[in-house]
C-alpha cells in the first residue's frame, strides 16, 4: 500500500495507532481467485460429471468451512474447556446445534417411517454404526488426540485453511492413522469384540419416536443445564 509517505487522513492515522490493527495487504483479490477455483470445481461436477448433487455438496462444504471460521467454532474446545478453563459457552452452543439437527433429522426420519410404518425406511436416513467397547476406546483415543493436536477432525481442516502450520502437519498424520485403522481392522475387530451388525436405532429400540425424542431432548436439556451451571459456578470462583 502506498499510504506511508503521503499525509494520512486522521481517521486512518487513528486506525494505525489502534492496537492489533496491523495494516495488511488487501487479500480480497485472492478471495476472488479462490471463488473462481470453487466455481471451476462446481462446473466440473455439475456439467462435466452431470452430478448436480455433487456440486451442491461441494457448495455446502464451503459453507461449512466459512461458518466454522466466522464463528471460531471448535468442537475440541467444547469438550476441553469445561475442565481446562471452566468455560462452557462452546459446549452449550454444540448442545443447541445438536438439538436443532435432531429436530431436522427426526422430522425426515419420521416422514420416511410414516409412509409404511417401517423403521427400516427411517433407518436409511440415520447414520447407524456399530456400538460397543470399540466406541469407548476409539472415543477416548480421539479425545486425547484432538486436545493434543489442537483441533478435531473439522477443526484440523478449518485451521489448515486458516494457515496454521500445526494443522498442516496434523492432517497427513490424521490420514495415516485412519488408513492404519482400516488396515488393522481384523485385529481390533477381534480384540474389541466388534459386531458390525450391533447397531442401535433409538426409536426402534425404545418402541417409537415419542419416547426416543423425549429421551433425546431431555438428555440435551439436562446437558445444557449442567453446562450452564458449571460455567456459572466456575465464573463465581474466579
Amino acid at each position: 500500500m502506498p499510504a506511508t509517505e503521503t499525509p494520512l487522513p486522521s481517521a486512518r492515522r487513528i486506525a494505525r495507532i489502534a492496537p492489533a490493527r496491523k495494516e495488511r495487504a488487501n487479500q480480497l483479490p485472492y478471495a476472488l481467485v479462490l471463488l473462481a477455483v470453487a466455481a471451476a470445481v462446481a462446473y466440473e461436477l455439475v456439467v462435466r460429471r452431470e452430478s448436480p448433487v455433487s456440486g451442491f455438496v461441494w457448495i455446502v462444504g464451503i459453507a461449512l468451512g466459512l461458518a466454522m471460521q466466522r464463528s471460531r467454532f471448535c468442537f475440541t474446545a467444547a469438550m476441553r474447556d469445561p475442565l481446562l478453563t471452566g468455560s462452557t459457552s462452546l459446549t452449550k452452543a454444540v448442545i443447541v446445534g445438536l438439538a436443532v439437527a435432531t429436530a431436522g433429522f427426526a422430522a425426515a426420519q419420521f416422514g420416511a417411517f410414516s409412509k409404511a410404518g417401517q423403521f427400516a425406511d427411517a433407518m436409511k436416513l440415520s447414520s447407524l454404526d456399530p456400538v460397543g467397547l470399540h466406541t469407548v476406546v476409539g472415543g477416548v483415543l480421539f479425545g486425547i488426540g484432538a486436545v493434543i493436536a489442537g483441533g478435531c477432525a473439522t477443526g484440523t481442516l478449518m485451521r489448515a485453511g486458516e494457515g496454521f502450520v500445526q494443522q498442516w502437519l496434523a492432517l497427513p498424520f490424521f490420514v495415516v492413522g485412519s488408513a492404519a485403522g482400516a488396515a488393522s481392522y481384523p485385529l481390533w475387530k477381534a480384540a474389541l469384540f466388534v459386531d458390525p451388525k450391533r447397531v442401535v436405532y433409538l426409536p426402534k429400540a425404545l418402541g417409537g419416536f415419542g419416547l426416543a425424542l423425549v429421551l433425546q431432548f431431555g438428555l440435551l436439556l439436562a446437558a445444557w443445564l449442567a453446562a450452564d451451571w458449571w460455567g456459572k459456578r466456575k465464573a463465581t470462583i474466579h
Partner: protein
Amino acid sequence: MTPDSELSRGPGPAATPPAIAVDQGGRVRLRERETYKTLFVNPWTYTTGAVVLALLNVVLLLATGKAWGVTTSLTYWGAWAWRWLGGQPQHWRYFAEIKPAFNRPGFDFLADAGSLTNVGIVLGALLAALLANQFRVKKLKAKRQIVAAVAGGLLMGFGARLAFGCNIGAMFTAIPALSLHGWVFLVSIFAGAAVGSRLLLRYFV
C-alpha cells in the same frame, strides 16, 4: 477496483461515505463498509455457528440421503495414497465389511461426498479468512508442537476408525440421527479430552 465502484452505486448510507471508509482517491473502501464487515469480518456467536452447522447438516441429509461425515473420507485418502505407493487396499477386510463403496467401480475423489465437503471446509475457511483480511501463516512456536501434531493426528485417525466416526460422524451427525453410538462416543470423547488436557498441560505447554 470493481468492488469499490459497485459500492458507491449502492443505496442508503453508501451515498454519504463515512470518513473512515475513504481511500486516497476519496473512494469508499469496500473492506471498511459496515455491510461488508457484518457479512464477512465481524465474528459470529458460537450459537449462530452451531445452528448454521446443524442446518447445513440437515440440508446434506435431505439432498443426498447421507449426513455429514469427515473421517471415512480421510481413510479413503490414505487408502488411495497406499494404492499409489503400490499397496493393495482394495483387499482390506475393512472395505469389504464396513465400507463397500470404496470398491465400487468409478468411485473416486470427486464421487465421494465426504471428500468434497472436507476440501470444501479447508477452502471455505481460507475464503472466510481472506474475505476478512485475516489470513496469515501461523508458524509453529515450539518443536513440541510437531510431536503434538503427529501424535494427535495419528490418535485421532486411529481412534475414529475404532469408533466408526469422529466428532462429526459419530457425534454431530450420529446423535441427531438417533443412533446410540453417538451418545456413547460423546461420553468417551469427553473422557479422552480430560486425559488429553492433562497431557497437554504436562508436556505440550
